[in-house]
Amino acid sequence: MATFTITVNGETHSVASGDPDVPLLWILRDRLGLTGTKYGCGVGACGACTVHVDGEALRSCQVPVSAAVGRRVVTIEGLSSDGRHPCQLAWLEQDVAQCGYCQPGMIMEAAAVLAKKKAAPASDFEAALSGHICRCGTYGRMREAVKAVAASGVKR
């Protein structure tokens, strides 16, 4: 049994696990109670589990907990303190979500694009989101949302 010290949403946690390869996804969900990060496929094909690791949007189902040690992990719960991150606001404004299950992953993906490139065009967001699946098919409104996010990025 090894102990892994990881920083999630600014808080440091020590997690004991007998398996250094346990994906970060399950540490977040089952050990730390951060259930906003979703399990969809476990093989990085759907994007529902996307979180930020040192600012990079990564599939948490593909990140072994041992690889997250010493890095800054941010989940949907930590994206903003008040739920008013530009992506969250744009998603609400456009009423994007249907069942909503994939949306935290989508929002984390879009937020990483915005954070990395101040004036990223909408096409950058769409390219990043094309790795995700929304079975409800909310892509049209998502497109409108990222247009608004892209515009807000230009203004900053």
Partner: protein, 717 residues
């Protein structure tokens, strides 16, 4: 308690599209107490601080039902929408028939919830009027307040809650007229939106119960099969695994986290015996369909003279095929359960809470009222979660484990254990007279029974089953529609639009074939066939042909029908259309702009939808369902196909079963006909016409007629 409090309004007219609902309007309600809380019926409460709680007895799976139903209540109550909170109902005496399916929630609850809100509003007005010593008729309501305009006095609903609680509940409250609606008919954003975008929205898989373990199961994926051996010791060697238990139907590995449970389950090395269905494969499934299609089906609708077809000036026939499909809800199968001391508590993402309650009670040998079902949010439903299999499984595992468990299916489990949309074959034939008019039509659908709904009964009368053949809206004098359903050796179930997609694909594409044969415009052909008696009454359905023609004209006009589809360099462009009446209610027409590249690669550029769904309670929600249904249907038309080998599904991930992604998303345009009267359903209605509109567009572009799904580039080269 007054007599009216116990009055049960049995409203036959409440029937949803597919479900006959008999909901008691005034059940026991919330627990009225001396605390100033007003709970005149089970659908709403007003607290002393003025907050309104709308109780929702339908499952939220993305269709926005918690928003639209609350809007109906709030409208008649004249509540301040900002103060309305949602509470999810659990099965019990007040909430009979909670099943969410058949696109029937809004239609089914429309009358009940209006009456529930209106009754509460009348009581609040009466309470204020008594306090002021004025006639109730001199008062009005607005945004959670009663106003007496003559004196300028106002009282908030919260302040009136205690006094209103003492009043009798009116049995037939006066309902608003549509012209007075303030909320219904306006675009309202989802009540669950803020929770979703911050990760607080709780789905079944997010349930956390003290002392629970995570469980993964080894269950034979073949229908009727079983586990024959497994190695518990190997599973227990996996870090984090706590126990291995056998339960009815399989073996469960209990662990500290889901990952360890999955790994432990894999380590079991479970060996299955598939039983009688162990060797089923796609070829056998299709040959069974083909054999059944070669025998006469059971007639569901016959009119005129069947002999006309044989004598028609021009005769055409064709066979259309649609494959098995997965639900692939993004939240995989899961359920959390606790069993102790003759009682059971279940947290389930379910479309059928009462079925879960009933089947869990049966398994445990206890009364249903000893089973509490908490309905969580659903990460997609689409019909899959009408079955209770995964929930009963969690109950069985919890009983065997003697502690709370959350059973989680991996994505692979979810594909293997889906209740799939069955493949279908539709044989159509038609005769045209010398002028090119369709004078005779045969439609024979052959498909598998939906095992989700119980044992196959070959004697069950299919008459009245709509599904696009029986309820063909066109005025064709000589009709013979028949239905063949066969036992399914694989698990099958309801899927968005159930049997409509394959039948409407065949019907609307074949009509296009006839139009081409007669050298007529596909729009003109349809409009001519919609000129007959309207509404055309068919069993308990009303086929509004004139309304469908209006919707079709609107879609065609907005899409630029009659002008050439936009040209794209190196590609062949085309435009196609289709229309449908869904279960005698929602009218819909769709036009697709498509193009085909040199290698047969298909691009769908634009889908224009026109719909008449009666009163659109939440137009934003209606548009959302159309957008969602179109994308669903495009995955169906362009991508999805499940195949079988050795009794179970071959495709077990998103790589093998691809779904449409944002970069393939066409431009969508939706036009809602200003509706009147009661609302009709929207969840499934946008699905069936998309495929034929696209396929007809591909014909326009290439001259190639596709009769099997999914659309394959090789068929277009």
């Amino acid at each position: 308690m007054s007599a009216t409090r116990r009055h049960f309004l049995v409203a036959g007219a409440l029937g949803g599209a597919a479900l006959v609902l008999r909901i008691p309007l005034f059940g026991e309600g919330g627990k009225a107490s001396g605390t100033g809380r007003f709970a005149p019926n089970q659908w709403l409460r007003v607290d002393a601080d003025g907050r309104v709680t709308a109780v929702i007895a339908r499952s939220e799976m993305g269709q926005g039902v918690r928003t639209s139903l609350a809007m109906i209540l709030a409208e008649e109550l004249d509540a301040d929408w900002k103060t309305v909170a949602i509470e999810q109902a659990s099965p019990g005496p007040d909430y009979a028939h909670m099943s969410t399916g058949g696109s029937g929630s809004v239609e089914g609850a429309w009358k009940t919830l209006r009456q529930a809100g209106a009754a509460a509003r009348e009581m609040l007005v009466e309470a204020a009027a008594r306090q002021w010593g004025v006639p109730a008729s001199a008062c009005r309501t607005e945004a959670g307040q009663v106003l007496h305009p003559a004196s300028g006095r106002t009282l908030g609903y919260g302040a009136l809650a205690g006094a209103a609680s003492a009043l009798p509940v009116p049995v037939q409250p006066r309902l608003k007229e549509a012209k007075d609606y303030r909320l219904v008919g306006t675009p309202v954003r989802r009540v669950d939106g803020p929770a979703i975008v911050t990760g607080r929205a709780a789905y079944g898989i997010d349930t956390r119960v003290p002392g629970m373990l995570f469980a993964a199961v080894a269950v034979c994926p073949v229908r009727g099969g079983k586990v024959v051996r497994f190695d518990a010791a190997k599973a227990k060697q996996v870090a984090g695994v706590r126990d291995v238990v056998e339960f009815e139907g399989g073996v469960a590995v209990l662990a500290e986290d889901t990952h360890a449970a999955f790994a432990g389950r894999d380590a079991l090395g479970a060996v299955f015996d598939g039983g009688a269905n162990a060797s089923i494969d796609s070829a056998q499934l299709w040959s069974r369909l083909d054999a059944a299609a070669g025998r006469p089906g059971r007639p569901t609708r016959t009119s005129g003279d069947a002999g006309v077809l044989a004598k028609a000036a021009t005769r055409l026939s064709a066979t259309y095929r649609a494959p098995f499909q997965a639900h692939a809800t993004l939240e995989p199968g899961n359920c959390t359960a606790r069993v102790d001391a003759g009682a059971c508590e279940i947290w389930a993402p379910t479309q059928s809470p009462e079925r879960v309650q009933r089947e869990a009670a049966k398994l445990l040998g206890i009364a249903p009222e000893k089973v509490t079902v908490h309905v969580t949010l659903l990460g997609g439903g689409f019909g899959r979660r009408l079955d209770a299999d995964y929930a009963v499984e969690a109950v069985a595992v919890a009983r065997a484990a003697k502690r709370p468990v959350q059973v989680v299916w991996s994505r692979r489990d979810d594909f293997l254990r889906d209740r799939v949309h069955p493949a279908a074959r539709v044989d159509v034939a038609a005769g045209l007279d010398a002028s090119g008019r369709v004078v005779a039509w045969e439609h024979h659908a052959t498909t598998f029974h939906l095992s989700m709904f119980g044992a196959f009964n070959p004697k069950e009368d299919p008459e009245g089953n709509p599904w696009g053949g029986y309820d063909l809206p066109y005025d064709i004098p000589n009709l013979a529609v028949s239905w063949s359903e066969i036992e399914s050796p694989v698990h099958t179930g309801a899927w968005r639009a159930v049997y409509y997609p394959a039948n409407v694909f065949a019907r609307e594409c074949f009509l296009d074939e006839l139009a081409a044969k007669a050298d007529q415009d596909p729009l003109a052909v349809r409009l001519a066939l919609l000129g007959g008696a309207s509404p055309f009454v068919l069993g308990n359905q009303r086929l509004d042909r004139a309304g469908l023609a209006r919707v079709l004209r609107l879609a065609a006009e907005k899409a630029g029908w009659g002008s050439e589809a936009p040209r794209r360099p190196g590609r062949r462009s085309g435009r196609g259309l289709a229309c449908n009446v869904y279960e005698g209610s929602t009218l819909i027409a769709q036009v697709a702009d498509v193009s085909v590249g040199a290698k047969g690669d298909v691009a769908v550029h634009r889908i224009v939808t026109a719909v008449d769904c009666g009163l659109a309670v939440n137009p934003l929600g209606v548009e959302g369902q159309i957008e969602s249904g179109v994308i669903w249907a495009l995955s169906y038309a362009l991508k999805g196909e499940l195949t079988y080998a050795k009794g179970s599904v071959v495709e077990t991930g998103f790589g093998e079963y691809p779904l449409l992604r944002i970069d393939e998303m066409p431009q969508l345009e939706t036009h809602i006909v200003p509706g009147h009267g009661a609302p009709t359903g929207m969840g499934e209605m946008p699905v069936p016409c998309v495929t034929p509109a696209v396929v007809n567009g591909l014909f326009a572009a290439t001259g190639k007629r596709l009769r099997r799904l999914p659309i394959r580039p090789a068929d277009l080269v």
